[in-house]
């Protein structure tokens, strides 16, 4: 997928609830690329160059890890905000 497509896709899937800002998207993509989690390909489309990103193998495993991390984080936050006090 290319950058603009990602913003549109996210908007569509989340029905507009999650809006990725452009200013954050490209730095994030370049960072993931630097970490080796994304691969790039370039194609010429409508007299301009289009850069496609796709997850590498390590990117795919990392997605699973990071989602798990996020879940863990939310769980922790919940227990902090809503502690089960035993006494």
């Amino acid at each position: 997928m290319y950058g603009y497509e990602i913003t549109q896709k996210v908007k569509e899937i989340t029905k507009g609830e999650l809006n990725i800002t452009e200013g954050a998207l490209y730095p994030a993509l370049h960072k993931l690329e630097a970490e080796g989690l994304l691969d790039v390909e370039v194609e010429k489309v409508d007299n301009r160059l289009r850069k496609y990103y796709k997850l590498t193998e390590s990117g795919q495993t990392e997605t699973v890890n990071r989602l798990a991390e996020l879940e863990e984080f939310i769980k922790n936050m919940q227990s902090i905000v809503n502690p089960k006090l035993s006494y």
Binding site: Y26, K31, D46, L49
Partner: protein, 232 residues
Amino acid sequence: MKLNEQQIDRLYQFTRQHFVEWYDLQSELVDHLANSIEDRWKENPKLTFEEALQLEFKKFGIFGFMDVVEERQKFLGKKYARIIWKYYKEFFRLPKILLTLGAMYALYILSEALQDTQILYLCVLGVIGFVSSFEIYKVTKAQRLREKATGKKWLFEQTASIFDIYPITFLPVQIVNLSGAFGDANWNRGTAIFGAVILVLFALLLYVQWKVVHKKMSEEMGRIYPEYEISK
């Protein structure tokens, strides 16, 4: 409605005006802006090209394209350091390590024969400085000419100037200083060995950066820069 060539050119110009001089970053931003402008036209066909462009640019926030550039520079800096290290390491493996050690030893022997470290090492440093300045001048000039001819600047070609190894430059100078401080006219074996090692390491680093890596840059970066091949 699709953007015409003129409008695409205007987008390139627009990114330049907003401090993105490099084609590798421009092309991605141009495609993004072009897509979003085309989508805007679907909703509101009356919008002029410039109006749509301004609206879309606002979405990048007050820093505009700056974050994009910064993140890319960081990425390239890391990548560049890794490439240099890869070729630098070769000088510490067989067979090249013989050359490395040989150069160190030769320098040391010469220093012993002359019973001098300060003047000798200062001269060697001077030669290194002179030769590398000349190389850097040649390389940057060729790059400027290329940029002029193609009208495209590539951020990865400029990584050399972003890449900051030059604090290390002071080390050999310090050695020469030190050898003077200890010196009290006597030749000191320790300083001579240490100086010879550092000088050779330093010369090798410059050699790798400007002679070896610079030529391999497009080949090495080609993998992460498929657009470089396409736009040639």
